[in-house]
Amino acid sequence: MFELKVLRRYEVSTKLKLTVYTLSFVVGLSAFTLLEVSYGADLYEVISKLLIKPLTSYSDFQVTIRYAIPIGIMSLGLILPYRSGIYSIGAEGQMAVGVIFAAWTAYSLIDLESPYSIVVALLAGTFGGLLWGLIPGLLKGLLNVNEVLITLMLNFTAYSLTDYLIYGPWRSPKAYGFPLTEPIPKSFMMPSYDGIHLTNLIIFVLLTVVMNTVIKKTVLGYQIRAYGLNPTAAYSAGISFLKVALLCLAISGALAGLAGSLQLIAVHGRLGPKSWSVTEGLGYTAIVSAWLARLEPWAVLPSALLLGALVNGGLTIKAVLGQPEGIVSIMNGIILLSIISAEFFINYRLVIKVGR
């Protein structure tokens, strides 16, 4: 006799939650490592390249930080809709639109001097992301349309818009036929110190503090949490759903736009297709990072760093071990799945009975 029982836990301690979360992350990571090994990679090499080197070797760490910043900024934004019970997956598209807006200001205001140029580009990018977030915000707030579908479709729309620009009006004639745009003017590029973009890092850390305050101390944050925890009661108390939906999605869009424009002016300097793109799928990684942080703004600092390292390591593995293109997305997926299933093990207990 073999029997499997699923029992609800009614009292859950913080310690248990923490253990289950940590374990689930480790399980997800191990599953991905095993997948790699089954592809013929060496176990030790996978672990070292994926997680250890990106965090320990200085030159790799610089790259890790480069990824962690946009991932973190976007996670901070995503926490708002997630906390209100709106499941946006639109950071990727909002980031892409932010990139377009920032690039557009750079190309059209060539004569603007630094540092105003940089500020203008960042503001424009933020505004672009905000606009892209307003669309699902309005649709959700007014008509209660499913936000997952809308934001997903808008991601593809943003990709197409980028493609149109890089294959069409913005295509550089000097790029040897590659669909790349002209590099943006020097005055628009963010300076870096020893390979690390200090300004970006400072912006990220400041935003963490700001978002922590927004969620925990402001009227808006309170209204957002109220909707997430009991929408019926929040509605009957007279809190406007339109306002909450609109602001959550607009702010998270704005932060994604900001992350995109930072990547453009600090790292990439030009727009390109697919694997040369500025967004690099980081908008999706940000979803994983937000949940890994359990929607706690301050916890985004470590979780973004961890995912930055994993993206960095994943790309190395892809290049060095000759793995397929989608390897980083697969890793994201596996980790997200395992931390979401942690929720199940936190709320339920499995009892296995063998024998009679």
């Binding site: 029982k5 029992l7 609800r8 009614y10 009292e11 305050t213 101390k217 402001t218 009227v219 808006l220 309170y222 209204q223 949490r225 109220a226 925890l229 009991n230 019926t232 009661a233 929040a234 509605y235 009957s236 108390a237 007279g238 809190i239 406007s240």
Partner: protein
């Protein structure tokens, strides 16, 4: 712990086999709160055992332990002479214990038959829907319960849902049926029916453990009464060994006033013409199934006046109150708050116009269980606790602490999660919040449901105070006595219409009762 166990198992081995359940020294702590302290309880075969106690006495906690929802921190539970560990509801069911919780745990979007078949699948033995239907029919006729097996649960009244839970317990062959405050939402007719069903179960050799905070009810139904006060058993005797006065004292721990103080100016039709604060014109509302639940109801409520709607539950009160609160679309007619047309606008506009709502379904509409006491306290007017968009925590805490004191809310403090509060205290919290802002209109739907006497009196006094402060109150209540004590005018709702209207001074209980059953022509 060790010592305890041996001591008590000695005790139980020579106890007689008539004990269905025997609890010894059960304690339960929630952080620093002692919910139960060294509780002993014996339930005999063929006994209706009443667990009596005030709000927050620990009744629900105790039965949750017996049903495996909580683990006791210490103590022994013995079922049919065997010490057992009840780790989950499934364990409890396997020992023949079934709990019917205060709020029916059914899936709204499924039919009665589907809901009941789930219990079987959960237990591992699958039965075909047809067999289940047969079984349900057989059981319901055997115990005099009449439920339509094909009805959607969302269309059932509270008492019908409760009957479904009873059938579920019977299908699981319950030996000890535990009911947590089963009568709070029942009309007196429904309550009598429930009691006769329970008597039937006893005759078959089953036992019942029933929770209530109503002394009269305990004396009416029980064979044995155990009184719980602040987590401790203060008395446990056969019913006849108590006198009413003594029992009241045991429950409350002191003697109290039973009737709310009625203020001096409590007479309708004062010469001053008060402004109209709520006006309902020819309102028509449909229920979830699409049928007409409220037909052409018109009402006017003036400032400083209480209008009571009496009626048997299920006659459109739920739909009426939801429509008034802006939670349900209106099919026809108009709703005006202080002259402002809010007919098909959301709750936000009403709140701004000075509308306060004490809902019947508290956990759903009234509070956010996962938030703490302070956060729930400011749910309606958090903006008044803020500056530049920042919440002024100190102000909130100060005002919550005031509220906790004034309303006698039992809680560990402003930062305790509301879902940890007992049912009665949750209601006090809602009333405290709604009355705080001096509302123009108060819609109170069964405001004292589930409250113990002391809290009920407090809430009624507060409503009267709000009336003196100029609020216009619409009181929808199934408790005719409550309607009669509080209202200046009484109307009776029957099948969605207002069938009778009278003033407090001329109201006759008899006529009202007949009107509630539809026996009076307007």
């Amino acid at each position: 712990m060790e010592v305890n166990q041996t001591y008590f198992s000695l005790n139980t081995t020579n106890s007689n086999h008539d004990y269905v359940l025997s609890v010894r020294g059960v304690s339960k702590f929630f952080g620093s709160i002692t919910a139960l302290k060294e509780v002993d309880l014996d339930v005999r075969k063929k006994e209706i055992h009443v667990l009596l106690g005030e709000n927050g006495a620990g009744k629900t906690t105790l039965v949750n332990i017996l049903y495996g929802i909580y683990r006791p921190d210490s103590g022994v539970i013995n079922v049919f002479g065997k010490d057992v560990r009840i780790g989950s509801p499934r364990d409890a069911i396997s020992y023949g214990i079934v709990l019917v919780q205060q709020h029916p745990m059914l899936i709204d979007k499924m039919t009665v038959a589907e809901n009941l078949s789930i219990s079987f699948r959960k237990l591992g033995y699958f039965k075909s829907p047809k067999i289940i239907k047969e079984l349900i029919r057989e059981y319901s006729s055997r115990y005099g319960i009449s439920v339509d097996v094909d009805a959607l649960v969302s269309n059932l009244s509270f008492s019908e849902k409760q009957e479904v839970e009873l059938i579920r317990a019977l299908l699981l062959d319950v030996k000890l049926l535990i009911l947590d405050e089963p009568t709070t939402m029942l009309t007196s007719y429904e309550r009598r029916k429930l009691f006769s069903v329970l008597r039937g179960l006893i005759d078959e050799g089953r036992s019942v453990l029933l929770i209530t905070h109503k002394v009269v009810e305990a004396l009416e139904i029980s064979d044995w009464i155990t009184v719980l006060r602040r987590g401790e058993v203060v008395a446990s005797r056969p019913k006849n060994a108590y006198s009413v006065d003594e029992l009241v004292k045991l429950v409350v721990g002191e003697s109290i006033r039973a009737e709310p103080i009625v203020s001096e100016d409590f007479s309708p039709g004062n010469s001053v013409r008060r402004p109209e604060v709520l006006s309902v014109k020819d309102l028509t509302v449909v229920n979830d199934a699409g049928g007409i639940a409220v037909r052409g109801v018109s009402l006017d409520i003036n400032s400083g006046e209480v209008v009571g709607i009496a009626g048997v539950s299920g006659n459109g009160q739920k739909e009426l109150s939801e429509a008034l609160a802006g939670l349900r679309k209106v099919k026809g007619g108009k709703i005006l708050i202080c002259g402002l047309d809010v007919t098909n606008r959301g709750p936000g506009d009403r709140v701004r116009a000075g509308f306060a709502y004490i809902p019947e379904e508290r956990l759903r509409y009234g509070v956010i269980g996962e938030m703490n006491v302070a956060e729930n306290f400011m749910l309606k007017n958090h903006k008044s606790f803020s500056k530049y968009g920042l919440i002024l925590e100190k102000d909130v805490v100060e005002s919550v602490e005031e509220g906790i004191k004034a309303f006698n809310i039992v809680t560990r403090g402003p930062s305790e999660k509301v879902k940890a509060l007992s049912g009665g205290n949750i209601q006090k919290l809602i009333v405290a919040r709604e009355l705080r802002s001096n509302p123009k209109v108060i819609l109170a739907h069964n405001p004292t449901l589930g409250l113990d006497l002391k809290s009920a009196v407090l809430v009624r006094e507060l409503l009267i105070k709000a009336r003196s402060n100029g609020s216009g109150i619409l009181l929808i209540s199934e408790d005719l006595d409550e309607v009669l004590t509080l209202s200046d005018r009484v109307v009776v709702m029957y099948r969605g219409s207002i069938v009778y209207e009278t003033s407090r001074t001329t109201a006759s209980r008899d006529v009202l009762e007949r009107a509630m059953l539809g026996l009076v022509n307007v």
